[in-house]
């Protein structure tokens, strides 16, 4: 299994477990603390997570869009260099070139990259994305 599919599988696995746990525990302070700490511990080294609290990794080929220096969440800007690198950081591959490549390798979420992502709610910065997504009793 390649890396993108492994990450996608891991996401689906976490979703399965957390969609049961989070609605029950989302009000409990120790659980909130545990979720924030573990999201920081895993997503930071894996994806360069900036704790925006509104994770859309599975829509973007498991590449964090917040790694884009313009924080674009809906696709690449028009400034991508001919070699596919970033306009602002010439030595970095464009986040969206990577996201696009990876999304074509996904099993379930290949076309999710075309969905319109709403504007960020900056109040959620630093909070747990899993609790924000599943905490409202939105058991899928």
């Amino acid at each position: 299994m390649n890396k993108v599919r492994l990450l996608e599988f891991t996401y689906l696995f976490c979703l399965k477990i957390l969609s049961r746990l989070v609605p029950v525990l989302s009000e409990k302070r120790p659980f909130i603390g545990f979720m924030v700490a573990s999201e920081k511990a895993f997503k930071k080294p894996l994806f360069g997570c900036q704790m925006c609290g509104q994770c859309i990794l599975h829509y973007t080929g498991m590449v964090c869009p917040m790694g884009c220096p313009k924080n674009l969440r809906n696709g690449p800007c028009g400034g991508v260099r001919g070699d596919g690198n970033c306009e602002i950081k010439p030595n970095m591959k464009c986040t969206w070139v990577r996201a696009w490549d990876n999304s074509t390798q996904m099993m379930v979420f290949t076309e999710s990259i075309e969905e319109i992502q709403t504007e960020l709610d900056h109040r959620l910065s630093g909070t747990s994305a899993w609790i924000n997504e599943l905490g409202g009793g939105n058991d899928e």
Binding site: P69, K70, N71, L72, R73, N74, G75, P76, C77, G78, G79, V80, R81, G82, D83, G84, E87, I88, C94, W96, V97, W100, D101, E114, I116, Q117, T118, E119, L120, H122
Partner: protein
Amino acid sequence: MTNKHASNLAQRLETGLFTVTAEVTLPDSIEKEALASRAHILEPYCDAINITDSTGAVPHFSNIAAASILIENNIEPIIQFSCRDRNRIATQADVIGAHAMGVRNIFCVTGDGVQTGDHPEAKAVFDLDSVTLLTTINHLKTTGKFLSGRKLDSKPDLFLGAAVNPFVPPFEQRALRLLKKHRAGASFFQSQYCFDISRFESFLLLLLELTNGSPPPVLVGVGPLRSARFARWLRENVPGVAIPDHIINQIEKYPEKEQQKAGIEACVKIVEGVKNLTGVAGIHIMAHNWESSVSEIVEATGLTKTGRNN
């Protein structure tokens, strides 16, 4: 009641008339006249004129003030809004203010990063991206409400556009990105400078395929290169401008004094190559600091107001 500010651009594109727009270079001036005189050079050849939004992350004449000056001069503006300098509060405030001044065409872009410009130490905003900028303004347009739900006295009459750059990676994704912007509220598109017709054609083919042959109107961005040196500068310093070597070599064959003419000829060739393609609704001329070249390009390609309306 007739709307004296109704968008002529919208009417033309909706009826399928070939459309010519151009970008006016905003002068570093504190006088109205400096802008008006430049716009008057373009006006006889264009259906509407683009006002950039501190393009290249360099402060220029305010886009709303510039648009108001054009309207005073009976010239229809397309006002560009970028995401770099305004958060969602300032954006919505400026959109309704611009509407009150008579602006009807709003063109939404991401905007160049501050590192590109002459104030690289500035804080970039990017609270919205080009798609959420479109959804935000489209929300004002369709509901007459701010994002917060607070109501305006009526719905603004706006025609929204967006940028497309088929000439930089990820190439195969650019048509899909255009359609995402279309779903977000963009009714017309202007492209980045086209110097590569075959690249544009493959983009267009994919777009036609994805839309069953009826894509939203796309105006092809074109522009004359003043010299080979300017072309290299443009390619190195303006994000997203792709100029193939053969175009620069073609211009470089001439002595420096004749390179302007060669640059216009190269631009005319591009316009001739794209103007009859299925899916091309018009052209958008960006003649940076060289407004007088627009008349030559339009006349040489038979796209004067009388020429293109027949």
